[in-house]
């Protein structure tokens, strides 16, 4: 088999993997844990557990006193209850990356001008529901 053909196969496999990885995050199970919905949802959309791998959730939930530069501390028992839920229902991704918007699948899906994030109705990459109207229910396939 020629090197050219091998490269073609490799490319197809890579593309297919990319598409599969993207689809995987277009419909995720909604948050079904009251404390997670309430505590995370006070400051930003309560992100569904499938959007990050277990290791990332675990580190986020043990580092709430510096939550991306902000103190988001919770009483220990509550933080650990939420961590258990997120970890048990976690998805895939790079375990060294804490931000959903820094995960490679997320970046592949959001390749557009930085000015989009500065629009008044968007304001932050955390506001999934500014564009994905049913993001709260875990539905992101409306783009």
């Amino acid at each position: 088999m020629s090197a050219f053909r091998w490269a073609g196969i490799a490319l197809s496999v890579a593309l297919a993997a990319g598409v599969a990885a993207a689809d995987e995050f277009e419909r995720v199970t909604p948050v079904r844990h009251a404390a997670t919905q309430k505590e995370c949802g006070e400051c930003h959309m309560a992100f569904q557990p499938a959007l990050l791998p277990a290791e990332s959730w675990s580190r986020i939930m043990t580092g709430l006193s510096d939550h991306f530069g902000e103190d988001a501390s919770l009483p220990e028992a509550l933080a650990s209850e939420i961590r258990d839920y997120l970890v048990a229902n976690a998805g895939r991704g790079d375990p060294t990356v804490l931000r959903i918007s820094d995960q490679s699948w997320w970046q592949r899906e959001h390749r557009f001008s930085p000015s989009v994030w500065r629009q008044k109705e968007v304001g932050s990459k955390a506001n999934c529901d500014a564009c994905h109207r049913h993001a709260g229910q875990g539905l992101y396939d409306d783009d």
Binding site: H44, E70, D71, S73, P75, A126
Partner: protein
């Protein structure tokens, strides 16, 4: 039940809920008062004026993005606030606009624990917490 009786019953239950929120706030303030008295011999009680200065003032030592309570809660505590980073709406912090404020000790302590660090870079004292609640109870 006749319609006027039903309306009266509804009004009474709403009034009851509003009135019932206050003992919880009074109890919380009393616990801060006891803590403040232990910390400061001769403590003379909470001050709405000091609470207002804390609320409206610009502080240093915390997260530079949130130098004041007003950064998120706005200069008018009866208004709906806005999270500085995510833009998430924050229910009014003034009791007149949001009667359940400062009635759940766990919620109150959770928010003081975070936001005193975010704004002041340190924990608030019991005196500051009492001043703050006293100011916002009158707003």
């Amino acid at each position: 039940m006749t319609r006027p009786a039903l309306i009266l019953a509804l009004v009474a239950s709403v009034a009851g809920a509003a009135a019932a929120a206050e003992p919880a706030r009074d109890k919380l303030l009393e616990s801060y008062r006891q803590e403040a008295s232990r910390a400061t011999p001769g403590f003379a009680g909470f001050s709405a004026a000091r609470g207002e200065a804390l609320y409206s003032g610009t502080h240093r030592g915390g997260n530079p993005a949130t130098p004041s309570c007003t950064t998120c809660h706005t200069a008018d505590p009866t208004a709906t606030g806005k999270h500085q980073k995510t833009g998430r709406a924050i229910e009014p912090i003034a009791v007149s606009a949001n009667p359940t404020r400062f009635t759940d000790p766990g919620e109150v302590e959770k928010h003081f624990a975070r936001d005193c660090k975010n704004v002041l870079g340190r924990d608030c004292t019991a005196e500051e917490k009492g001043d703050f609640i006293t100011f916002l109870s009158g707003r």
